[in-house]
């Protein structure tokens, strides 16, 4: 799966779960201010990403620093690459 495909998969999963307008899903979109997610949504978002990509990320410290959609893209791409390298 290419990085572009990963990004599309993330956006589709989040748009479906949180009923987001795909046009508003820009990498620089702030999760709270622009996409109007709340702290509980971030917990749900982690569950959605785990289900979509089949990895466990809820204990990752890095999740706490995620602010934008682009941060999510970068985080998931990095996790995918790490997973491929270790397997």
């Amino acid at each position: 799966m290419t990085d572009k495909e990963i990004i599309e998969k993330i956006n589709t999963a989040l748009a479906e779960e949180f009923e987001l307008d795909e046009a508003s899903m820009l990498p620089e979109a702030h999760l709270f201010d622009d996409l109007e997610l709340d702290s509980l949504d971030l917990v749900d978002m982690v569950i959605v990403l785990e289900q979509t990509f089949g990895f466990k990320i809820r204990e990752e410290e890095e999740i706490r620093s995620i602010r934008t959609l682009g941060d999510i893209h970068a985080f998931v791409i990095r996790k995918r690459h790490q997973r491929l390298q270790s397997s």
Binding site: E17, E19, E36, D38, L40, D41, D44
Partner: protein, 248 residues
């Protein structure tokens, strides 16, 4: 048009008078109730808020036809978590259509900035979901449910701008999963005609508040239980809202 004009010209002043009168009477009535019933402060204030809402219903009733359906079921299984779609500022007033009064409403911060209502909302232990943080809201809500009170959420978080059902936030559903208390989905319609967001002029309307069958959180399991519950409740409210609009 003349009816709208007459309604706006009469309802707002009468509502102001009703509000001022209620505030003037409240201290004496509160102490009478406190010593007469030994109820908790939050319970007494919720009762008075419910009476105030009933007064508002009486004020607007020459222009607004109210109907309600299915609310008795919720009464029989209290305490419950009530969730209702959000169309207008006056939705909270319409909660006086409920056949019970012991309800704490979970709302955003801005209503707490209405200085004439804020002291009563705080005494009634209303939940500020925006500034308290989820841990604080959850703890507060659980205590309310333990004491026999009901908690009401507008899961869309804000009023719909186009009448369509918005996306739901998870708080109410996580609370239901954590406490095991049933969720009562409720559908309100007509308040968007009475006073849609961004308008000041009132319009005659037919307001309907309907409770749908309770949804038990134990039907759902696993880490996504609250998400599944949220989807089930949203689907039920959306379906009924669409039916009601077709019936109009």
């Amino acid at each position: 048009m003349w009816t709208c004009f007459l309604m706006t010209l009469t309802v707002y002043p009468l509502l102001s008078l009703w509000t001022l009168g209620s505030m003037a009477v409240f201290p004496a009535a509160f102490f009478l109730f406190k010593f007469g019933t030994r109820w908790s402060t939050e319970r007494i204030v919720r009762f008075f808020i419910w009476i105030y809402g009933r007064g508002w219903i009486a004020l607007v009733s020459p222009f607004v036809r109210f109907s309600r359906k299915g609310l008795e079921k919720a009464q029989s299984i209290q305490p419950v978590i009530l969730v209702v779609n959000h169309l207008s500022f006056f939705d909270t007033y319409c909660m006086a259509l409920l056949p019970f009064y012991n309800v704490a409403v979970a709302i955003r911060s801005w209503p707490f900035r209405m200085y004439w209502y804020a002291p009563f909302m705080r005494m009634a232990n209303y939940l500020d979901v925006e500034t308290s943080g989820w841990d604080g809201v959850s703890l507060q809500a659980k205590k309310i449910l333990e004491r026999g009170g009901n908690v009401l959420f507008f899961p869309e978080g804000h009023r719909s701008r186009n009448g369509a059902l918005g996306r739901f936030y998870s708080g109410a559903f996580l609370l239901a999963v954590e406490t095991g208390r049933p969720v009562i989905p409720m559908v309100i319609s007509g308040t968007d005609v009475l006073l849609p967001p961004g308008r000041r002029r009132l319009h005659p309307a037919r307001i309907r508040l309907e409770a749908l069958p309770p949804v038990e959180p134990r039907r759902f399991s696993g880490p996504t239980a609250h998400i599944q519950l949220k989807k089930a409740v949203r689907e039920a409210i959306g379906r009924r809202l669409a039916e009601i609009r077709t019936e109009r």
